[in-house]
Amino acid sequence: MNVPADLRYAKTHEWIRIEGDTVIVGITDHAQAELTDIVYAEPPKVGAEVKAGATAAVVESVKAASDIYSPLSGTVTEVNAELSANPALLNTDPFGQGWIWKMKASSPAEAEALLSPEVYTAQIS
């Protein structure tokens, strides 16, 4: 399983990438493999306030709907519009083109509670 070294991870299988004051959020390679064929993604709305650990998005495979939890608290600034036409990007490129939303974190220190790549790798192995 791919676990990029430059990201931080939630126990619930989301990742964040910090670029300046923007945080990009997606689901991990492990999550997409567990979910299998993703056929639908419902990102949060731009402007929505999300809370760390609370449901912010939903992705669905043929078989099941799964909640995606926001790793941090803050305001959604952009969502990945490509996912509505091509939700399979979540399967094929979960750390790249399959990102789900961007946000401004209201409590950036929350990121310290997230998992390092090493700890997350241990969790899923």
Partner: protein, 371 residues
């Protein structure tokens, strides 16, 4: 997931795991939900061939001089019209006309019938049937559920594969049953030309010790292993009901749109449990009907228990639902007032608080393209 230790296990379980299956609980059994992926498996069955472990389903034989009359009293379809080696879909109802189980029965001998019942209903069905056996011994019931392994071979290539697998097999016509040569054992090996996918195909019943041999032979013939995931999308595209989802003790087969399997107008059909309720319901008008729905906009996959609205008012909820892999559209079934049953009627389906436009469709949702 439930603890696998409390579940019942298929004789093919090791073969599934060797094929990369993802295993889940279904009807008290530990069964494969998918191998290569639901969409991939679904398309294999529509275009070539796939195989499903159906060992969790129950097999029961009913025989004796009283077998016919007794089955007539339990089941909705007229059993007496079955010629030797022929099968029919039928329903077993409670006194209130509610569905205990839907099943297929074959006339396997002059006075012998072979019944295939749902996995989750095996104990309930057997208790119901055994509790109604005549005291005079004229009907003998044998539960062979644990003696058989069963595999459904489905898809347009099925007949070619079966003929290569079992040379000399007198391949049955649709809804017929015949011996399956080459897999002899403790119970008779049988092949029935039935299925739950809308494709041509067969259900193969072999002694439990021959299950893995059959699975391996089909695998070697290039048949794709398929799990319960695509079994569900395939059957829903055809509008075939799933007991526990579309059928229940709370609904009659008339409400479920299964009237053609209920011999109410056949003068040769004797009385059966639940009949009076069905006749009264037919006279008074059905309180609800199981209606096929399709999303008319891009939306999430449909699932059970989503509210259905007409002009903003909730009128029911979805039973079965899916994103149809063949059509790429959301499809579902829902019990709704009969006034809303006309195809084209505009409705809405609510998913996580958002409403999506839908329309009353017709069955089957999926029609095979003309060859």
């Amino acid at each position: 997931m439930s603890d696998p230790d409390t579940l019942k296990h298929s004789p093919l379980e090791a073969a599934h795991i060797a094929c990369g299956a993802r295993m889940v609980e279904f009807g008290g059994w530990f069964m494969p939900v998918q191998y290569s992926g639901i969409i991939d498996e679904h398309k294999a069955v529509r275009s070539a061939s796939g195989m499903f472990d159906i060992s969790h389903m129950g097999e029961v034989t009913v025989s004796g001089s009283g077998a016919l009359a007794w089955l007539e009293s339990l089941l909705t379809n007229r059993v007496g019209k079955l010629a030797l080696t022929r099968g029919q879909y039928s329903l077993m109802l409670d006194e209130g006309g509610g569905v205990i189980d839907d099943l297929i029965l074959y006339r396997s001998g002059e006075q012998e019938y072979f019944l295939v019942i749902n996995a989750a209903c095996r104990d309930i069905d057997l208790a119901w049937m055994c509790g109604r056996l005549p005291a005079d011994g004229s009907v003998v019931l044998n539960d062979l559920g644990d003696a058989y392994a069963a595999i459904a071979l489905q898809g347009p290539d099925s007949e070619r594969i079966l003929r290569a697998l079992a040379p000399g097999c007198d391949v049955p016509k649709r809804n017929g049953i015949a011996p399956l040569p080459g897999f002899e054992g403790a119970v008779p090996s049988l092949v029935a030309r039935t299925g739950y996918t809308g494709e041509d195909g067969f259900e193969l019943f072999v002694p439990v010790a021959k299950g893995v041999v059959l699975w391996s032979a089909l695998l070697a013939a290039g048949v794709k292993p398929c799990g319960l995931g695509c079994r569900d999308t395939l059957r829903l595209e055809m509008g075939y009901p799933l007991n526990g989802s579309d059928l229940s003790r709370e609904r009659t087969p008339l409400e479920a749109g299964l009237g053609k399997f209920v011999s109410l107008d056949d003068p040769e059909k004797p009385g059966f449990t639940g009949r009076a309720v069905l006749e009264a319901q037919r006279a008074a008008g059905l309180p609800a009907r199981l209606i096929p729905l399709k999303l008319t906009v891009q939306g999430p996959p449909l699932r059970s228990h989503y509210p259905v609205l007409s002009e903003g008012v909730a009128v029911g909820e979805t039973c079965s639902g899916a994103l149809s892999p063949s059509l790429g559209e959301g499809i579902a079934m829902a019990y709704l007032p009969g006034a809303l049953s006309t195809p084209g009627t505009a409705l809405e389906i609510e998913v996580r608080g958002r409403r999506y436009a839908a329309t009353v469709s017709t069955l089957p949702f999926y029609k095979k393209p003309e060859a």
